[in-house]
């Protein structure tokens, strides 16, 4: 028999880095940047600090692996800083996280990403990550190199020294040197990542230098740090039997009924009575968890699944909000027009979810005959790979965009110089893989995203229709001016008529076509007033009138248009 060995978590990930986003030189750079930025933003949010990031990704030499460059990735923040004792854990140990399974909408969840980046740097350039950190309580900043000890899954600090750090009171700076390649644009591009992060984080100021380009600074448009909702307890209907039993082990020697009430959301005394009605043996309720057999757990679990429970609370999700999104979208370029939609939090597959959509047309971006640029987000983190398998893409393709005035090939993304940003926030997002690149598509989730898209699409169509009417009028007026005189001229010629008849005919023509253009004009006015109505609402949302509450999904675009119509008839 061959010898069975146990390997450390670090060993497992070191061999399977492709599973966590390090499957190619391009992805390695993007994933490292992403993990570092995620950590900075999460830390700032938890300490209610308005984040100021400095990001630098540049090529500094030739990589050790074939066809790669040596890339320097630096991310510096003004976050709370990391205590010296925690540095090794944070950067050099897998699954050492403050966020694991908490049921909060943080960007990071498990504590794999940044350690994997350290591993990649170490494997390709024989050096882990260079970290500078300072908390408010530290007199001097600590500077050190962190490596991963693969055999034991622990972090090792090297070259530790205390330094003076640019008069900074607190913050973290990480610097990776690793093999990789830089791609700026396109789905997997670094710039696409930065833009996505900028869009969904209106409170972030970021200064960045990518490749050979100059430094760019994007200022924050909101001074409010997002309030991270309290973590929620899991809902029992989201569990499988195995998970249910494992979950019970966390609670030790307490009674079953107490475990159910404290370990889950939406279970009350009444629910326990209902479970008994649904077939849970009454005697089990007071039995301690430790004395329960697997058979007992199964009976309890089955009864819970058979009982109707209140849907989980939606308080645990957070939104960027239409106001902030509206402002943030202008940071991506010159916006022609846009529409944003924040849905009310809802439940999909027993998990609280909120969907936000921003659709915008830009002046100098994209092309008429190219698919729209799609930015997907899960918990405010851009998703940049495997677009075709994602719930968001499915939802977009299922909408008939033609009815909103956009061109759309069958079963595909619509075309045009638009950016479609779709964000899904949930404490329990189901990803298809550990590298968090696509959201698993359940029917309920796709439907929820689809609704958000349709509402945003309706708002967008006001702008498009107005534009079309405008073009139509212009075309009609031009037609009259251009073709009218030629028609008359040639008729006069063929009929061998005189000049006075020509003048009379020209006057007649003007009268006839004038009637037509008046009709077109009134169509345009109609579209204009509808748009004005919407813009007024938009203005309210973006806070120009102060305390107006952010509109939610209850007031759908459809209803809005109905209101506009009724107002008109009243006139």
């Amino acid at each position: 028999m061959s010898k069975i060995t146990k390997s450390s978590t670090a060993e497992y990930f070191a061999k399977n880095l492709q599973q966590v986003g390090f499957s190619s030189p391009l992805k390695a750079v993007l994933t490292t940047l992403k993990e570092a930025v995620d950590n900075s933003l999460d830390a700032c949010e938890q300490h209610e600090i308005l984040p100021e990031l400095e990001v630098e990704v540049t090529k500094v030499g030739v990589g050790s692996t074939k066809n790669t460059d040596l890339i320097k990735i630096v991310v510096e923040d003004n976050g709370p800083g990391i205590e010296a004792d925690d540095l090794a854990k944070v950067f050099g140990e897998y699954l050492a996280s403050s966020k694991f399974g908490r049921g909060q909408c943080s960007r990071g969840q498990q504590g794999i990403g940044i350690s994997a980046a350290t591993t990649w740097a170490q494997m390709t350039n024989a050096k882990g990550v260079q970290v500078i950190s300072k908390t408010k309580g530290m007199r001097k900043a600590i500077s050190a190199q962190v490596d991963v000890d693969i055999k034991t899954n622990t972090g090792i600090l090297r070259n530790k020294e205390m330094i003076d750090w640019k008069n900074k009171s607190n913050g973290v700076r990480v610097e990776f040197l690793m093999d990789g390649r830089i791609q700026l644009n396109g789905d997997g591009g670094l710039l696409t990542y930065i833009e996505g992060t900028v869009l969904l984080n209106p409170h972030v100021t970021v200064k960045y230098k990518l490749a050979d380009a100059d430094w760019v600074k994007t200022e924050r448009v909101s001074n409010v740090t997002p309030e991270i909702p309290e973590a929620t307890l899991p809902h029992p209907h989201t569990f499988k039997l195995g998970e249910f039993i494992t979950h019970s082990h966390l609670y030790g020697k307490i009674s079953l009924s107490k475990f159910l009430k404290t370990g889950f959301s939406r279970i009350s005394d009444q629910s326990i009575k209902d479970f008994i009605k649904a077939g849970m043996p009454k005697a089990l309720a007071d039995k301690t968890l430790t004395s329960m057999s697997e058979e007992d757990f199964k009976k309890v679990f089955q009864a819970i699944q058979a009982t109707q429970l209140m849907a989980p609370s939606t308080k645990s999700v957070l939104t960027v909000g239409e106001e902030a999104l509206s402002k943030s979208i202008n940071r991506l370029g010159q916006v022609d027009f846009f529409s944003v939609m924040t849905r009310k939090p809802t439940i999909c597959d027993f998990k609280p979810v909120v969907v936000e959509v921003a659709l915008a047309r830009f002046v100098n971006r994209g092309a008429e005959d190219q698919p729209v640029q799609l930015l997907r987000f899960a918990n405010r983190v851009p998703l940049q790979f495997d677009k075709s398998g994602c719930a968001i893409t499915w939802a977009i393709e299922s909408v008939n965009w033609k009815s909103y005035g956009l061109a759309q090939p069958k079963d595909s993304l619509p075309l045009g110089s638009y950016v479609f940003a779709v964000s899904v926030v949930s404490p329990f997002i189901k990803f298809k893989n550990a590298s968090k690149e696509t959201i698993d598509a359940s029917d309920e989730l796709v439907e929820e995203i689809r609704r958000a898209l349709m509402q945003a699409g309706q708002k967008l169509s006001r702008h498009i229709k107005h534009e079309m009417k405008e073009a139509d009028l212009e075309r009609k007026l031009a037609h009259i001016e251009q073709f009218g005189p030629i028609l008359v001229e040639k008729l006069v010629l063929i009929a061998e008529a005189n000049d006075s008849r020509r003048k009379k005919a020209e006057d007649g023509l003007k009268k006839i076509l004038g009637r037509d253009s008046e009709a077109a004009m009134s169509d345009l006015e109609d579209a204009q007033s509808k748009l004005a109505e919407q813009k007024k609402k938009q203005a309210k949302i973006t806070g120009e009138e102060g305390e107006e509450v952010v509109e939610t999904s209850e007031d759908t675009a459809e209803e809005q248009s109905k209101k506009t119509e009724t107002k008109k008839t009243k006139k």
């Binding site: 009609k476 037609h479 073709f483 030629i486 028609l487 040639k490 008849r501 007649g508 023509l509 006839i512």
Partner: protein, 386 residues
């Protein structure tokens, strides 16, 4: 220069055009919307009577009334009409493509005409067709001629006399041309036909190549006949030429082509009864007496001919099947009882989902180079055609 008449026409085109312009001008002067009307040239306005023998127009008209959307088309129509009238006046002729460039030249010379400019020839073609349909005049009567295509003809008996525009006459004895074909111009109406000896039949072959092969192997030497290649869907020239042969020589005419829906529907039907697009001209551009010699469904079995499967999941095949079904439901030609034998072939094709090419006769006896000729003659003799 004296113009050749295509038909005995009681229509004075310049006069008609002037009256039309006059009417439109009057409408404009009194602020009424002027309009143009043309025969609707589509299948839903086609009628078929087997006694007449070709598709004729129904009552439907296309009416274009002046408004902001149609002002461009109306301006283009009168612009083109003026060019055509000038051509008629001075006796100049042009092809559609030439007219397209004449328009371009005029537009280039005058900035005011710029908005009229045609992006491609299809745009100017449709204006020319509309004018023809509007005046119920043939394109040829507007001095606009199509390029020659098809109609390559071989015969040892046929003599053609052409009346030339300058009053001269040219005589062509086809027997002197060897393996070179005689090709009628797209004005077959200016030709006079004479048979040196009684002509037994006229055979129109879909493939020009196969017609050439038959000729090379001595088909017209052995038979008193006219042999013609159609080169796919018969052009106006071919259709007019067949009509002329029918009118002047009174010989039975047979068509030999592929056994598939496209040949029956597009090629043969157009030759026999004209097309929906040319409703106003079918009377002079169709040969109602032509018979379909083959390939017939019966031949496939009799000679064990190779066939191809028509696949429903193939886009082109599926489209042709659908078109065949449509023809059975909507085409008055195939709905007519008199043409039941032809619609039966369509039904057979839809049911069997196969097609068979004319060249498959060459597989019957591969070592006999004139086997195809023998089969054709046998079919004519036995009356094996529809």
């Amino acid at each position: 220069m004296a113009l050749l008449k295509v038909r005995e026409l009681n229509l004075n085109i310049p006069k008609e055009a002037k009256a039309l312009a006059e009417r439109m001008l009057k409408d404009l002067e009194s602020s009424r919307r002027p309009y143009l009307e043309a025969v609707k040239t589509s299948l839903d306005n086609s009628e078929y009577n087997s006694k007449v023998g070709f598709l004729t127009p129904g009552d439907k008209v296309v009416r274009t009334e002046l408004n902001v959307s149609s002002v461009q088309k109306l301006a283009r129509v009168v612009f083109m009409l003026e060019i055509l009238l000038r051509n008629l006046d001075i006796g100049a002729v042009n092809t559609k493509r030439e007219l397209y460039y004449i328009c371009k030249g005029l537009i280039k010379g005058n900035a005011r005409y710029k908005p009229l400019d045609f992006e491609d020839q299809t745009e100017s073609d449709s204006i020319i067709d509309f004018i023809g349909d509007m005046l119920e005049a043939y394109r040829e009567e507007l001095n606009c001629y199509a390029n020659d295509r098809g109609g390559q003809t071989y015969s040892q008996q046929l003599v053609v006399t052409e009346a030339l525009p300058d009053g001269d006459k040219a005589t062509v004895d086809l027997s002197t041309l060897g393996t070179s074909p005689f090709q009628p111009k797209n004005r077959p109406q200016s030709l006079k036909l004479k048979a040196k000896k009684k002509i037994d039949f006229c055979l129109v072959v879909e493939s020009e190549g196969t017609a050439g092969t038959l000729q090379s192997m001595g088909f017209t030497k052995r038979n008193n006949c006219i042999l013609m290649g159609a080169q796919g869907v018969p052009s106006n020239g071919v259709r007019g030429w067949c009509k002329l042969i029918e009118n002047q020589l009174d010989v039975p005419m047979y068509f030999f082509g592929d056994l598939d829906a496209y040949t029956i529907q597009n090629i043969f039907r157009t030759l026999k009864a004209g097309s929906a697009a040319s409703l106003i001209r079918n009377s002079d551009f169709s040969a109602p007496n032509v018979r379909f010699l083959g390939v017939l469904p019966g031949d496939v079995k009799k000679y064990d001919l190779h066939t191809y499967k028509v696949k429903e999941n193939d886009v082109a095949d599926a489209r042709s099947l659908k078109k065949a079904k449509d023809a059975l439901e909507n085409d008055p030609f195939f709905k007519d009882k008199k043409n039941k034998d032809l619609s039966d072939i369509l039904r057979w094709l839809i049911k069997e989902k196969v097609r068979c090419e004319q060249q498959s006769y060459f597989m019957v006896d591969p070592k006999d180079p004139i086997k195809t000729e023998k089969i054709i003659l046998e079919k004519i003799k036995k009356g094996d055609y529809v």
